[in-house]
Symmetry: C2
Subunit: 282 residues, 2 copies
């Protein structure tokens, strides 16, 4: 079967400290060698934090009234975030994949209008128990993805590697959540599966007890899963729900820290959200 | 005439302080609106210097025995150079072009093996009159460009914007000269013209006297031009020669600092190297 006739798989690689990118790249190459078209979306947090630390720029966070925590991306941080996301992290992954024989092409959401977002011009934040409104945050709410550009590259044998930056309505770069960007890409491209790798084994019923891993969540139990999810996992479950709503059959939340994280995820490790039958086909 | 049937124009935009990128982007948009397919290659020097200054990393240079000066790109500098080139500078240009309605796609030489180079593992340098060999410099000598990827994007209506990074033989990122990268791209894609914009009006017979601009250099006078060129201009004349050898008919060295730098270059301002008749056709 040639590459373009198979349904693409979307893989999100976390940007936190602890992920062995070289090991993930080697595992991606095994999957790519089966002819399966792949799209990779990556995070940036550790690279952006390191670049900011080197530049003496403090990393600040915004806590929303509902308890979500996100990076405070003012213009100074945005400039470093773009450098870390589209520069360092994206090219590190492209380089590692190329070294494994995968013909990766790195893109950000700005390129070819790949990811369009709307900037949140007034963000409510809670600080020391009081609410205030932040107006210089360059974070975006994702609106649409350019599936044509991704198909153009996939059909020509390239593997798109996407940095978590979107283009705002004034063509400005915006920081967007990598998990939700991956969900939007998977839904737009008609992927049957999205795998989200991070530094936990999956959704834990009793965080951080890793023996409390929930192996399967049917689509109609997503609300309960959202209630269980803690911290960063909240956004991953949200992203999983967005992917399923967009027509993706299966989302797997899996551990990036093991030797062959994708092979393990496809063998049933991690938390499988949605349709369980598909993962046995790979 | 549709875009794909016209011969592409390659434009190099300098990375030095003083170039008004927004003005250049607006002028590129005028040219793109005529249906002419464009490929943009950019420099990075000011962005890399600023990022290094912020991070407290000293910017060092290597002077070759023949007097050429280049950036000393050790691993620490390389990491910042990648961030500045593929991150900050590339996405700034993509964003400015998108704001003008040009559907720009940013790439580095790593992406899709766009620019392949060979790392100079032992570089002879002159310091205080003495020669030494530098072994941790990640600068590359360009070998080949991937014209298929550029044609794929051009034919789909995208404008490639290329950061001056190439991929070495171990898939590692390498710093490469932007002017010579632009020349290689122009030759590979079969461009009839290459325009190199920088912060001088063109080749000056008596640098820095701008009234001594040389308006035209026939291809067979390139050796004399090389003898006249001073400083950074030496590499631009070298790049022009490489482009002509590769089948490009005309190279224009022109001033980036004026209001419509490309319109002025196409109207005959700057130094025209090679065939003069083509510039009246635009």
């Amino acid at each position: 079967m040639n590459q373009s006739s198979m349904n693409p798989l979307v893989i999100k690689i976390g940007g936190s400290v602890g992920t062995d990118l070289a090991a993930v790249a080697a595992d991606l190459a095994i999957l790519a060698s089966t002819g399966r078209p792949l799209i990779v979306v990556h995070g940036t947090s550790a690279a952006a934090d390191a670049l900011a630390a080197g530049a003496g720029v403090p990393v600040r966070h915004i806590t929303s009234p509902s308890g979500h925590v996100s990076r405070y991306t003012d213009p100074e941080m945005l400039d470093l975030y773009v450098a870390a996301a589209a520069g360092q992290m994206n090219k590190r992954l492209v380089s590692l994949l190329q070294a494994q024989g995968v013909n990766a092409v790195g893109l950000s959401g700005l390129d070819g209008r790949l990811l369009l977002a709307r900037r949140k011009t007034a963000v409510r934040a809670v600080e020391n128990g009081r609410q205030r409104v932040i107006r210089d945050d360059f974070t975006g709410k994702l609106q649409a993805a350019n599936g044509d550009l991704l198909r153009l590259l996939l059909n020509a044998g390239y593997t798109p590697v996407i940095a978590p930056l979107a283009m705002g309505q004034e063509s400005e770069p915006l920081n967007v959540d990598g998990d939700r960007a991956a969900a939007l890409v998977a839904a737009t491209i008609g992927a049957e599966m999205l795998i989200i790798l991070s530094n936990v084994p999956g959704l834990l019923a009793d965080f951080p007890d890793e023996s409390s891993l929930i192996p399967h969540i049917p689509a109609h139990h997503l609300a309960q899963a959202q209630a269980i999810a803690a911290g960063r996992m909240k956004k991953k479950v949200l992203a999983a729900g967005e992917a399923l709503s967009g027509g993706v059959h299966t989302v797997i939340l899996a551990d990036a820290r093991i030797v062959q994280p994708l092979q393990a995820a496809l063998a049933g490790a991690g938390t499988v959200i949605g349709d369980q039958t598909l993962i046995t086909d790979h």
